[in-house]
Subunit: 204 residues, 4 copies
Amino acid sequence: MVVSKKRKHERKTQIITAAACVFSKNGFSNTVMADIALEAGIGKGTIYEYFKSKEDLFFAVFEWFSLKIEKTASMDVSKLSGTASERLMVLNDSLMSSWFETKDMFTLVMEFWSASSSSSLRERFKNAFHNLYKEYRYFVSSLLQYGIDHNEFRSDIKIESVAAALVGTWDAIFLQAWFDESFDPITTSKDFLEVLLKGLANHE
Amino acid sequence: MVVSKKRKHERKTQIITAAACVFSKNGFSNTVMADIALEAGIGKGTIYEYFKSKEDLFFAVFEWFSLKIEKTASMDVSKLSGTASERLMVLNDSLMSSWFETKDMFTLVMEFWSASSSSSLRERFKNAFHNLYKEYRYFVSSLLQYGIDHNEFRSDIKIESVAAALVGTWDAIFLQAWFDESFDPITTSKDFLEVLLKGLANHE
Amino acid sequence: MVVSKKRKHERKTQIITAAACVFSKNGFSNTVMADIALEAGIGKGTIYEYFKSKEDLFFAVFEWFSLKIEKTASMDVSKLSGTASERLMVLNDSLMSSWFETKDMFTLVMEFWSASSSSSLRERFKNAFHNLYKEYRYFVSSLLQYGIDHNEFRSDIKIESVAAALVGTWDAIFLQAWFDESFDPITTSKDFLEVLLKGLANHE
Amino acid sequence: MVVSKKRKHERKTQIITAAACVFSKNGFSNTVMADIALEAGIGKGTIYEYFKSKEDLFFAVFEWFSLKIEKTASMDVSKLSGTASERLMVLNDSLMSSWFETKDMFTLVMEFWSASSSSSLRERFKNAFHNLYKEYRYFVSSLLQYGIDHNEFRSDIKIESVAAALVGTWDAIFLQAWFDESFDPITTSKDFLEVLLKGLANHE
DNA sequence: CATGAATGAGGCTTCATTCAT
DNA sequence: GATGAATGAAGCCTCATTCAT
């Protein structure tokens, strides 16, 4: 029974992976369940043994994707040490490279955004994104606070705002990289962070 | 004849406006042509007198929207004066408030992003966005250069990178505002810009 | 008023000619009223001032076409003289060349056949064709009778059958010419008629 | 698996038969896919599991029909024996009666002709007909050659022309029978062939 | 468990026809 | 008379979902 459970979980992941691939290639609406089944190497009907509907599967892909990103990011972050600036730099590099690996999956993110604006999953997606961003902002906020506490950053900065904007910048840099092949997100983000850190620095 | 031309143009705009409304509410795929016709108060077939297909209409909405945003922004920007910092501040405020006005249309932007990742319009959208971002980045770059030229900003900043990131930040702030009702994009952007300007400042 | 009537008739012919052209190119169903109007150089709505419907126009084209064929054929036939065999030969040549001229309009004939098998005009077309064939058969029958009366043809031939078959052969030869560019209807029909005439000949 | 293949083939035939019925009744353009599904006793969508489009199905009907005619004819023809004249007579009877059986399907032939003149299937149909006629002409040519070789027919006849015309005559006789209920294709063709054979006969 | 044949609701699009100008 | 903008009925086709095997 435990084995069966495991089997089931594996099969589920197999479908999700296949779905992620097809969704990212064609978008949600242009994706056909048959294609997902084909990609997963299973029968069309089998998908419905594991997911109630196309939308359900899509949301499962979203959850799988968030987790994946988070895991990659947090893995590196655990190694954070040094000054707040150094930590931010490492975080920046970590995010950039981790997203870079899943670059071809960035279209998925856009699909998720789109799904949260229309689609009947709107609320589920909106909430999930809301929480995701909150988490990221909270994490960056902590780093900023750490900098203030250690007299590294000025104490008059608006932590929340800077955190929110910074988190957003990372997203947006990827967005532009998506639209422009020649755009280099790693350099851009590094250069930008340097300036920002100067602005944060405490010159008593 | 001139009258007829004008009529045609008016009718076209009428359809685009209606389409924008419905697309932003339901997304591209979930939008039904009949709904657009209903919203525009015309017959279904009439749309096809003005647009070759649903996708064509969607792209027309995109163009109309871009133009609209641009117009609103450029209007304020023309009044720019003062130091580079002041100008950036004004630009920030202008963008924030202009986008704020079309806040309920922000979902459209997400749809456009999504369309540029899947859909058969992929290339058209990608190109258009590419150019749009290029333009914005170029404009911000000019302001930064202006600051450097006037010894207001440090000369060692990477103009391109900062411009790109800043433009992105504005997008991203709106994205977060979309996911979080309580998120205040105006304050956030202002606070953030303040820090950034400190980072740019030249303290010889 | 008389002038007006004439105008009306001219306009009607203009439309019919244009319609014949478009129908023969695209077939009835694939023809769009707008194309006919374009070909005729008039407005779409104008057609309806002269013809009640698309089907009506189509039937008018049929009548115009029949008349045209008939006129061309009968013109030459009036010059018939000599033996019955000679007359049949002349008729054969006349038909072949007259149809040859309207070769690119042969597709129209196929459309007419098709229309008489389906379409709501079925009965009208069937009747018209019925009469057309009857007429042709009757004319050929007369020639055959003439040959018998002059002891040129055997008296035991079944006039009706031979006439019907011969009339059909002419049609069918054009049909094959339509399907096969390299098929030469003139030679074929001549060769064939020669054999047939030998079969008809009276060798007391 | 073999069973499944068989099932699929049966279902395909079932659809083709139903389609043939509806197409012959209403013509290609006036036929609605839903009617075919109804006639076949299946769902609308099922047709598309077996045929890519309406046009594809139509062509499949054509192929099915050609084969059917050919099969019926060739069955009788295999029994050919006796003089060339006798063989031609038998062939004539065989064709007449076999087509007679499918008389109510003759409208299909007209639709096929029409389809080869317009419609996007033009080329496919034209080619198919071209080959079909070629085959028939070739077969009749062989019979004529046989007659010449056995001194039964005159050696100066133009085999190709006579064969082409004769094949066409059979078609055309059916055409007239279609337009005229009182027209008897069997008698007509017999009477006509008798005359023709006299013309072919060798009276050294 | 897995499958894939069957389905029918639903969407995009076409186009003959009308009618106000 | 002539026009062409407007229309909505109707048709082809797609595809998520089901269910018998």
